[in-house]
């Protein structure tokens, strides 16, 4: 193949990023932007899953928090977009620290169910607190993002902004994975007692990662709000949490840059099956089941297996 496959992929990606808005229809550009938003939220869930072995079924709670805070900040309080987004991230991170501290002492099923409970509670509160969130009627008129005076008012412009952001976040995540804390987290995931005996502060690490996951979810939510300019409770259900979970599961939990593939998959499938109506939700569940039972390594894992087989090992 190519002498440097990584370099080839990188070059192809940059070219694609540059050219796609000229080539794709507005509709598919839109889908691509959703994929970017999914990638950011899914990265958080993927870090928790791949590095800490924690299944987070409540990412939609932080996604919604980020969306509503920025919506409220910009439409009701009249703040600019960036401070609202940051404030949303701070609130989500703070909530994650507060909630995470007790529940991260749980493990396995209990923890996953606690996150599911958290997501469900958030869903109810988003609905009941309609004085804050607008309930099912939602909040509209959210202003578009502006970068140095340049307004991101079209999907094309948004695309040129959001994908470099995605790559930046993935790069930061990759640095984290290949570092001392990353080693400690994977040790904790592989053999917790042995990690403890080597003085790894498991609870502190898990809480920190939970906060990071929440911040990523919140940023994704805020970016979503400023993209579609309208948010309502229907976007922040358990279904959304499952979509965020699917991104790293389909990609392969240990792969950081592979998150892009997972996000593209989760964003594209409903598109390709739009003729079947609500069937795509069934498919998401089935995909999760299939990946877990048949291809636990996700797409990147399967690819690696394939390469090994081809090399005759």
């Amino acid at each position: 193949m190519f002498p440097h496959p990584r370099l080839a992929i990188a070059t192809a990606s940059v070219l694609a990023w540059f050219l796609l808005p000229q080539v794709l229809s507005l509709h598919y550009l839109d889908v691509l932007n959703f994929a970017a938003i999914l990638a950011i939220g899914g990265l958080g869930v993927g870090l928790l899953l791949g590095q800490c072995g924690i299944v987070n079924l409540g990412q939609a709670a932080f996604y919604g928090c980020g969306a509503y805070v920025t919506a409220y900040g910009t439409t009701v309080l009249g703040w600019p977009a960036l401070p609202s987004l940051v404030f949303g991230a701070v609130i989500s991170g703070g909530l994650a620290a507060l909630i995470g501290f007790p529940i991260l002492r749980l493990s396995g099923f209990f923890l996953a169910l606690a996150t599911l409970a958290m997501g469900s509670i958030a869903g109810v509160l988003f609905f009941e607190w309609d004085w804050l969130t607008g309930g099912t009627l939602g909040m509209g008129g959210i202003p578009k993002l502006s970068l140095l005076g340049f307004e991101l008012s079209t999907p094309g412009r948004y695309h040129y902004f959001i994908w470099p952001l995605v790559v930046l976040l993935l790069w930061l995540a990759r640095n984290l994975v290949d570092s001392r804390p990353g080693l400690a987290m994977r040790a904790m995931r592989d053999a917790a007692p042995a990690a403890e005996v080597l003085a790894v502060d498991m609870h502190g690490l898990k809480t920190a990662m939970f906060v990071i996951c929440a911040v990523l979810g919140s940023v994704a939510g805020s970016l979503f709000a400023h993209y579609v300019s309208f948010v309502s409770v229907q976007s922040f259900t358990v279904e959304k949490s499952i979509m965020f979970l699917l991104v790293p599961v389909v990609a392969g939990v240990h792969s950081v840059f592979g998150i892009v593939i997972g996000a593209l998959f989760v964003a594209l499938v409903p598109e390709l099956l739009s003729g079947l109506g609500d069937m795509h939700q069934v498919l998401f569940g089935l995909v999760l089941v299939l990946v877990v039972t048949v291809v636990p390594g996700g797409l990147t894992g399967a690819f690696k297996q394939f390469r090994l087989i081809r090399r005759g090992r």
Partner: protein
């Protein structure tokens, strides 16, 4: 004052009624955990499937109500069997991790809930109440006749389960097969088949929960997850492998959530119940999925 006590009583009655529904879901969870050491995150979906199928049999198939009910329970049981054969068995053979089984049951929960959406639509469906749609009066509060039936049937189910697991050979074999698979195999128990029966039983009990609750609050595709979570709270309070304990837990949960939201919108009931779930998991997991102290050595 009089108004307040009647409000209290009404809340208590509806709380107890709901509590028995959670107890039934919790019992199904306990059955499956007891028989397979798997925490079934899709238990609530058995309720949805069973109920919706009964609606279909009744309205679409024009079957008599008792037959439709049996059909619904059967579908729940068959779903359980299908899940064991097509999903659990291959994963168990690969020695999949706990995380893997969790993702599996979550995926199934989601797929089944979406299937319910696809086939049943977004609307809620109702079933007729047993003994008609009348109410009985207790002091200043009222309770649907069906609710009384619900409680009676739940108690019958839990007693039947207790007898089954303690007195019948099959029940004892199913417990043995999961507690000590190797030991059970040497005594001639087919561990794989026992797990199949476990899922069949868990599916059937789950369906019963759904069929019983639908006449009271109607069933829609979204209810599965909340039922699973509340059933889980009930089951943990009772000790996760103990169907009888799930009844105690369920009724306690139902009462707590109803009494806590007197005067508030009913949506907050879920917030209360789910918060209780989290607190229970942290404060009293009953050491079942936690580490039990090792003695001796």
């Amino acid at each position: 004052m009089q108004h307040y006590t009647s409000l209290l009583l009404q809340a208590a009655l509806s709380g107890i009624t709901n509590g028995f529904v959670y107890a039934l879901v919790g019992m199904g969870l306990a059955v499956i955990f007891k028989g397979s050491r798997i925490v079934n995150a899709m238990q609530g979906e058995f309720a949805v499937i069973g109920a919706l199928f009964t609606v279909l049999a009744l309205q679409g198939g024009q079957l008599p109500y008792p037959v439709a009910i049996i059909a619904g329970i059967a579908v729940g049981a068959v779903s359980g069997v299908a899940i064991d054969i097509f999903c659990v068995r291959p994963m168990a053979r690969r020695n999949a991790s706990e995380e893997g089984f969790l993702l599996l049951t979550i995926g199934l929960a989601f797929a089944l809930s979406a299937a319910a959406l696809y086939f049943g639509g977004r609307d809620s469906h109702l079933l007729p109440g047993y003994g008609g749609d009348g109410v009985i009066e207790i002091l200043e509060a009222t309770m649907p006749v069906h609710a009384v039936w619900l409680i009676v049937v739940s108690l019958v189910v839990v007693l039947a389960l207790r007898l089954f697991y303690t007195k019948t050979l099959l029940g004892l074999s199913m417990t043995a097969a999961s507690a000590d698979p190797d030991g059970a195999t040497t005594t001639g128990i087919n561990v794989s088949r026992m797990r199949l029966y476990t899922f069949m039983l868990g599916g059937g009990v789950g369906a019963i929960a759904g069929i019983l609750v639908t006449p009271l609050i109607s069933m829609n595709y979204q209810m599965g997850i909340v039922l699973t979570l509340k059933g889980f709270a009930a089951a943990i309070m009772g000790g996760l492998s103990n169907p009888l304990g799930a009844v105690v837990g369920g009724v306690a949960l139902g009462l707590l959530e109803s009494l806590a939201v007197i005067g508030f919108p009913s949506g907050y009931r879920d917030v209360v119940a789910l918060s209780i779930l989290v607190v229970i998991m942290i404060v009293m997991p009953h050491g079942l999925l936690g580490r039990a102290g090792r003695v001796g050595g």
